[in-house]
């Protein structure tokens, strides 16, 4: 059983699914459009809730996927559906005949520039969660010198219809709390404020880090979305929000504002979706066969989905999703695919 499986996207979901499918004995081909594997994980420093090094997690994922045929700097040029398989032409000139395709195209971070009132890219002291992770990794950022007051604006490009993203990005609250703690660790004298609408700390130990942020680090949580940022004469930021708990408008001068940019459907993922004529839902993420019972199957037989391609997910969720997708691929390739005669009927019944 050496079926070819093409996995599109070399982030955590793609890597984990590759590893699993390879262990099952399939011939896995993994393509990644960027020069490096690991997706957003490779750019992150530490992970919530227990501050594990992202590198460590990625290292494990990469180790698991050793032996997988992997093309980086590679995208899909064209896809043709054959009888049951897919003929995929890659940008590196290679053509793959694949019996199943797993799309793990992940997400893009919301482009914070679009949230104009926050002045990202305009005011010097405004940065994003990703910028901050890069700072944690590299230890330097022109914006961070010795900030006395630091703010975290939750829900930037999440739960915001004006920015075209109604949904919650799921990970930003926990990330904000994590980063707030890390900033307090780096600058113990700093005052840290988190501006939130709802603290969606649903996972195991998430509430613990929230409590820790309050109790041990004195992070102040203000219920109210940041409404406006502007720059003072001295280059500090004037941030306005409502303290909705107090029911009063509020302002604070900050030395640094971190925007918790949310998850958006991946643009390159969408391009592949277009090639496959795969439908997306209103929120821009790929539609699945059934949100509850078949979350890893696309509406098209033989095309599978894993990770944030089907909506915001935390890292553990993504990995679990990838494993589930691997199982689904295996089921398809053992139960439906081999029966050439009844293929169409089986698809109708079991896809």
């Amino acid at each position: 059983m050496k079926n070819n499986i093409l996995i599109i996207g070399g982030g955590p979901a793609g890597l984990e699914a590759s590893a699993q499918l390879q262990r099952m004995g399939y011939n896995v081909i993994l393509i990644e459009k960027s020069p490096k594997l690991g997706g957003h994980l490779a750019k992150w420093d530490r992970l919530f809730p227990d501050s594990v090094q992202a590198e460590e997690v990625l290292g494990r994922l990469l180790k698991g996927a050793e032996g997988v045929k992997c093309f980086t700097d590679t995208d899909v040029r064209a896809i043709n559906r054959l009888d049951k398989s897919y003929n995929v032409r890659l940008t590196n000139g290679i053509t793959v005949l694949s019996d199943a395709v797993l799309v793990a195209s992940g997400f893009d971070l919301f482009d914070a520039v679009k949230k104009e009132e926050y002045g990202y890219g305009i005011y010097d002291q405004v940065m994003t969660n990703a910028d901050l992770e890069a700072y944690f990794k590299s230890g330097s950022d022109r914006r961070i010198e010795k900030p006395g007051k630091i703010g975290f604006a939750h829900c930037v490009g999440s739960r915001d219809e004006k920015s075209g993203c109604r949904s919650c990005s799921k990970v930003c609250c926990a990330t904000a709390v994590k980063q707030a703690i890390e900033m307090k660790q780096a600058f113990p004298d700093a005052e840290v404020f988190c501006f939130y609408m709802d603290l969606r700390l649903f996972g195991r130990h998430y509430e613990d880090i929230y409590l820790k942020a309050q109790k041990e680090y004195g992070v102040r949580f203000i219920r109210g979305r940041v409404a406006e940022v502007s720059e003072n004469y001295d280059g500090t930021l004037l941030v306005k929000a409502e303290d909705t708990v107090a029911g009063k408008p509020l302002k604070v001068t900050l030395d640094l504002l971190v925007l918790m940019a949310g998850m958006r459907p991946s643009a390159s993922g969408k391009a592949i979706g277009d090639l496959l004529e795969m439908s997306v839902e209103e929120d821009g993420y790929f539609a699945v066969r059934s949100g509850i019972a078949a979350g890893q199957r696309s509406p098209i037989p033989g095309i599978f989905l894993a990770g944030a391609a089907t909506g915001p997910k935390t890292l553990p969720e993504t990995l679990a999703d990838a494993r589930a997708a691997a199982m689904e691929v295996d089921r398809y390739l053992t139960e439906i695919f081999p029966d050439a005669k009844n293929y169409k009927q089986l698809v109708r019944e079991r896809w």
């Binding site: 909705t244 708990v245 107090a246 029911g247 009063k248």
Partner: protein, 670 residues
Amino acid sequence: MTPLLYLLAIQAADPEVIDRIPSGYSHFVIPFTVGITFMLCWIGVGCVRLLAAIPKADRIKFWKSLLIPKTIVKNLRDLFGDCLFHVKIWMRKPLLGYMHSAIAFGWFMLIVLGHIEVALFVPARLNVTRGGLFYPIFYRYFVWVNPGHTTLRGSFFFFLMDFFLLYVLSGIALAVFKRFRSIVLGMRHTTKPSLADRIALYSLWLIFPLRLLAESFTADLSGGSFLTVGVNHFWHFLFGDKLWFTPCWWAYSICLGLFFAAMPFSRYMHILTEVLWILLRNAGIQPNHPRKGVAEAEIYACSSCGLCLDACPMNVQKKNLKYSSVYFIRFLRRHNEKKINAIADKCLMCDKCHALCPVGVDAPALRRAQRATVNDTLPYDYSYLPLAVPGSILAGETTATLGTLRGGTGASLGDASGGAERSEAVERPKVLPGTVSNNKVLYFAGCMTHLTPRIIKSVEKVFKEAGVEYEFADRDGGICCGRPLMLAGKAEAASKVIEANKKLIEGSGCGTLVLSCPICYKIFKEEYHLEGIKVVHYTQFINELIASGKLKVEKSEKKIVYHDPCELGRGCGVYFEPRAALDQVGTLVKAAKEYDESVCCGGSLGSLTLDTRDRAKISESSLENLLAGDPETIVTACPLCLKTFSEAVSNSRLPIKNVAVKDFAEVFCR
């Protein structure tokens, strides 16, 4: 008594005892004399200062009390019972009681008998100018027994003296033993002695062995009985004829001197101050400051025996030992303001240390007084309470007036004017206007009961079942009883809510006030002084309903353990009624510790600073205490205990099988 003894002495034909040293003095008495003089001066000055610090009215009360026969009897009883025999300790921990009484009573007897001996045989030496201060103490050094003239009377005293010395020595032996293995004497924790304590303690330990040594060395000259003479023979056997005894007497005197010199700075001061405290206490004088006036007598009356250490429910965690009453008092003596406050705020106010204190030191009251020094002056504004408005407030008339006074715009303002803008006064407290006739019952649930509606439900059910006509005083919520304010040291604020509640309750015209919360009950009973209204706790009320046959109950085999809520048991002495009633419906089993030794559930409002985790530890130990008799149901009669135990049972890591936590009233409703 003394004249009689003189008489006896005169009757003797030949002196039994002759002055061995005509001057009646030896240099070795100096250490002792200096020590005791210092101590006596100290205490003398202290007493005067203390009495001066008491308000004049109290001082007069004190002097008068010393003349009241009833008080005199009580004083004598307490002085002997508490100071000498340590009856309270005996009753709880016999071995420990024996130890304390052996040392206290034994030593007391040695001093008394020593003086009697002097009075009998060398009466002139009782005069202070002739060495009266030290002579009776070192009697055996100064005299020479007249051989051949010994009488039965002399032998009898010799015997008594030896007997009490042995008695004291047995106590000392136990004390030394206790220092190393206190648990054998029933104490898990013992007080950590201070430096002065150590000096005094080791001196005390040495005093009596040295006395034995000294007296036994001189026993062949000064006489003695079975012990001293026996030991004397042993020395002769060991050292031959020549016994060089002066060093022993020096050592004995030095130890005594050291002890007395260290006494004012040590726990042993209590031996004397306790007397003053008992007199003041029995005179009914209350402390109004944590360490001035009467309180000073009280804090110096503490013997640092450390019984409160085991009594304190907080000490289930060793880190809390430092918050025990004994240390509180020690820091009060030392004026360590920061520590005093921390300890005062931590306490649960369960009153167990007070109940168990051999000298009756009311440490919780001192803590309350300490809290008051900080909290009583904090600002508050209870102007919303119906204080000076009689009658009409009950019908809610003033509400309307106030509304109109505010310009009638309250309604038109709308709440949208900003969440933070607290809208105008919401509602005025109201109780049914005076419709309740005198034989009617008013039920006051109280704040905490409102958080445990199952109690309200059950109480109402029981009332209905028993056909009690009642009115609900605070169905829609009422004013706090004031006890929590009191416990926090805000007595003045408490008086405001008391006044408000009092108006409401007296205005209701009820005859009986039933309370389901012991916290309310205590303060209603003690501070409200409700004219013509009987204040009862619902345990008492339900017991009465059963006794009078109004409430029918059925006995079952169900094993019930009853938890004595602090404020109800130790606080108000209600132990009997709840048990009597529960006995009618189930089989009462014993908790490991109950009645006044019951362990606080940990939910008490008394503590100001104890955090949730520490409280949970206490709850767990209190629960363990209740589970000793393997009960099926834990019954308590306090909303706080109920809530605490309910949570403790579900969170407990103890192997608990199906133990239900029920409120007292719940047990009685079908």
